[in-house]
Symmetry: C2
Amino acid sequence: MPEFFNVLPPDEARELLFRHITAVLPAETIATQQANGRVLATAVTAPHALPQFRRSTMDGYAVRAADTYGASESLPAFLQVVGEVPMGQPAAVALGVGQAAMVHTGGMIPETADAVVQIEQTQTVSGGQSPISTLQSPPFPFEIEVLRAVAVGQNVLQVGEDVRLGAEILPAGHSLRPQDVGGLLALGLTAVSVVRRPRVGILATGDEVIMPEETAVPGQIRDINSYTVAGLVELAGGVPVRGGIIPDNFDALATAAANLLAETDMLVMSAGSSVSVRDMTVQVIDGLGAPGVLLHGVATRPGKPTIVAAVGGKPVLGLPGNPVSAMIQFDMFGVPAIYRLQGVQTMPRRGLVWARLGQNIASESGREDYVPARLQDSADGLLAMPVFGKSNLIYTLVNADGLIKIPLNKGGLLAGEWVEVRLF
Amino acid sequence: MPEFFNVLPPDEARELLFRHITAVLPAETIATQQANGRVLATAVTAPHALPQFRRSTMDGYAVRAADTYGASESLPAFLQVVGEVPMGQPAAVALGVGQAAMVHTGGMIPETADAVVQIEQTQTVSGGQSPISTLQSPPFPFEIEVLRAVAVGQNVLQVGEDVRLGAEILPAGHSLRPQDVGGLLALGLTAVSVVRRPRVGILATGDEVIMPEETAVPGQIRDINSYTVAGLVELAGGVPVRGGIIPDNFDALATAAANLLAETDMLVMSAGSSVSVRDMTVQVIDGLGAPGVLLHGVATRPGKPTIVAAVGGKPVLGLPGNPVSAMIQFDMFGVPAIYRLQGVQTMPRRGLVWARLGQNIASESGREDYVPARLQDSADGLLAMPVFGKSNLIYTLVNADGLIKIPLNKGGLLAGEWVEVRLF
């Protein structure tokens, strides 16, 4: 039994929407190096330990730590260097008592060694610099003096210290970043199972709306929302599917919406802001299937008349026609819905910057306000200057670096207060 | 005459690098709707005003404001509604004294009107609801009562209120976001001149490094840095050009570096961390051309041994081989260099979150430390838990949400302190 509300605060509205997103997108296997921004369909476990062999973290000598105990500058330990472990090769050298092997940073440690003495803690018996700092290997064996004792394990990366064999390295629903791709490739995982990118249908409606390439006659405006929404869809990992511009006609809109929803995973309709057009959008969405419209508005400004809906487990949004509201509301509901469709449970954290407010802002208690702001450096630190403007004006967003959020329970903010600016 | 330094703090190191980035990338014209993330090659001015005609911001009646002066609920003004302005069409209605035209939100205002009375401030003479809230037009003329006066310009968006004809809407060097694309399309600017994406050559070096798809024998490790760097290059708007893995051989590396630099705009070499290999990288970079190596290290941890260089106006970086240092240093120098190559003067602001530190962190004064941290919600708010680990361990970054920066002049941070976490 679906719940119906008139207006809810944004957080509750989002939770309500999330409860109705039950569509499951199929997984697909892709090359790991192409997987930045994609979401894991299944958890990944380590097929082997990392590192797979003990590695030196220093340039120096692999030793048996016990051979260095008590060593000091006044009473060095003498060791015989019997060979070198070349980079990229197994450490074939076997160390007897009092013996050491030359090793490079990242190189393998011989089985019979248990620590590394870094080069700076050694000298040749003649007092000269240890020969390890050149690529040219010296003739073996030769003797070195160790000037400080090392403990077992010192300067050694142990097997599995980065990742243990079989450990879950990344959970299902994780959105992959460059370091995650690196971590998978380090384990030889060159293919990965990810959730198919959600396809997001975008419809613009309005008798007054024309394509950007058309010449406007008085009374006409060009479609903006299809493109700003498409840009946000791509940034969130979705694939925008633009369905064009539909006139203000119930049958035309109902048919276009049903067709576009059938071939996509989510539908976004941007309609005019007049009451008649909004009522029509509500009816069209309710006609698409159950549960239909969940919410007829959100307690925010701009964007109160946003329609939050779901049909057959797919999110459906009816955005206000004016571009500022449309973009802010899509950011608030559409972007999280795209992540949710991919199985992401924890939304990516939003980047914020703190700045001093440059001007008073009035607000209304009981409503979350979002005020576009431009950031500027000043002698007193970073200033957030509100960009005031009707929400019909796209350039209030073009001229802004982010949004200042004024919480539900606040009546406004004063110049000089510290505010959080959510970066676009 | 190039300056040479041994080690500099990160900010000064970046400024030094910037001074040597003089390569100019050519402009190319692309479709505006494909231009998200691209950087404008030239400033853009408005080819026409926006809006191009006066628009209503409300559902209601376009009026001559003077006809409503003095109107109140007890003494309404009577107006004759002589027609409707349909959406998307010129306002052909001419208003005489005492006349009004039905208008919808976003619709055009007749030339003879100078304000809009919103529908909620009107009623029909019979006291019923005004007929504007349906898509069905009523028969004209009919009479309405206006219950509150409006001022000239009220509820009207003026011509050019969003953008004036000829105004510079976006400067050269601006990195385009979805709202910028929307703003350009609103003006009919469907093509835009942007800077060609910088091509960034990436070389991995090391006898021990193998391709991710290869099976590692003891002593070998898979290439990570080529892929984490490539991911960061893409996020910054560049095109990664991977040059593969080069053995630790001066001639091989010098040839590969020269060839890759010739066909790209920037070169990144990730070499092992042993002293001999690092010295070879310095020599190879100096051999590529003037000015060569600018800086042999940066006062940070991790990443001190980063080589900052420029050749013929192109940035060149020598990154430490270990993956944590490589990624943090590339983020610190490589990402800004990619923006700079595109002519971006003001770097995009980094997203931060504030959190309480979950554990003490020791640091060393005179060095900027970057400690990976995982964010977790707690009863006391957001906690930043340091992810300690040697910088050889890629999973310290996989397990982190961002970096805590410990400034140059700080000896450490205490648990419970508020810290800034720079999100990855």
